[in-house]
Subunit: 217 residues, 2 copies
């Protein structure tokens, strides 16, 4: 079974980081109620899809990390690597089912390295603070009060050999003051994707598009 | 039961029109297999969500029309009106379940007016040609070979009292030559949302964002 350290995992150029405040961390959540009993796994599945999938290919330079804080076994950090992931379909149900393969692995408190149940999927014990401690790159918090992405120099920072970029988003719940403080301690600033407040996966789509435009220049 | 003519329905400022080539038109498709047996209703559900939902509100000036060509009872035109729709949640499963309320209505060949099973949801018998015949507004085809939305004057056409805008997209299948010809006969041109080929709902997110930016000016 393929295994990598967190540092290696996080070396993808573009990284989305989503805080799943109520996302179920045990694998027994119902695929028929992603919006309810699963703690909004529907929204996380849409973020995975939108972060990684193009029409007929996968964004190999992009990872998505989910910090799962809900349910019976929090906290967990679940990473999907665009470079390596297989068996990823665009619909919410099959994406959530794939993620269960990771949630099904036992994580002992002493385990430092992520486990890899299937190529491109990695899970480890930890929350936002552990993630921030291990993150190596330039981080930005997506926030409606931030500077517009097209008015900032974020897109000039695309890591052509430089440090990777990390974009932090919340799910359908606002960040707590403590979460915001933890992110901002390691972040370069806050950025906004536009004049309206969007669902997380919509913001990911807009940001990916801005990055695509910047790469093309 | 509320009923409106097609013309009134289509008077919303912004309209997305998605061709669902294999989308099941009878209400008996399985909610557990939206990606397969339902003919990609997962993708249509994501388009509805992304076209109409903001973080905590609905885009009241936007409609989405789906031209459903698959399954047991094609063709049907299904419209969701942002102004009037209720009971719309963001997840694919509940969205598809809501759409079944419309697919469940019997549509006689002679029926010209759409039926309305629940507020903001309208269904009528017809395909792309019938839609084009009734469309009143400025239409654009989203196409990877089109002019970039930020290089065109589409965004200057936002209907501040002017004709509504219609943006045509295909689902996961390419348009046939005949479909493309039908749309282009009534369209002002083709536009692209950026340098990469996206899933339909991702393109809707990017286009909505461009419209938001234009409205703010």
């Amino acid at each position: 079974m393929d295994q990598k350290t967190s540092i290696e995992l996080e070396s993808s150029d573009i990284n989305f980081v989503i805080i799943g405040h109520r996302a179920e961390t045990s694998p027994d959540f119902p695929l028929n109620d992603l919006c309810g009993a699963a703690g909004r796994w529907d929204g996380l599945a849409r973020c995975i899809n939108t972060a990684l999938l193009l029409s007929h290919e996968i964004r190999k330079d992009t990872n998505i990390h989910m910090i799962l804080l809900g349910g019976k076994d929090p906290p967990k950090i679940l990473t999907v690597s665009g470079r390596d992931i297989r068996y990823l379909n665009p619909d919410e149900r099959s994406t959530a089912a794939l993620m269960k393969k990771a949630l099904n692995l036992p994580l002992s408190p002493s385990l430092r390295r992520p486990l890899c149940p299937t190529p491109g999927l990695y899970i480890s014990r930890g929350g936002l603070d552990e993630f921030m401690d291990n993150m190596k790159g330039r981080a930005f918090l997506l926030d409606e009060r931030g500077d517009d992405i097209y008015d900032t120099d974020v897109m000039e920072m695309l890591p052509r050999g430089g440090p990777p970029l990390f974009f932090f988003l919340s799910d359908d719940m606002d960040l707590s003051d403590q979460e915001r403080a933890s992110i901002m301690e390691g972040a370069h600033g806050t950025i906004s994707v536009g004049p309206r407040v969007l669902h997380a996966h919509q913001a990911v789509a807009v940001l990916n598009n801005a990055l695509d435009r910047s790469r093309k220049k």
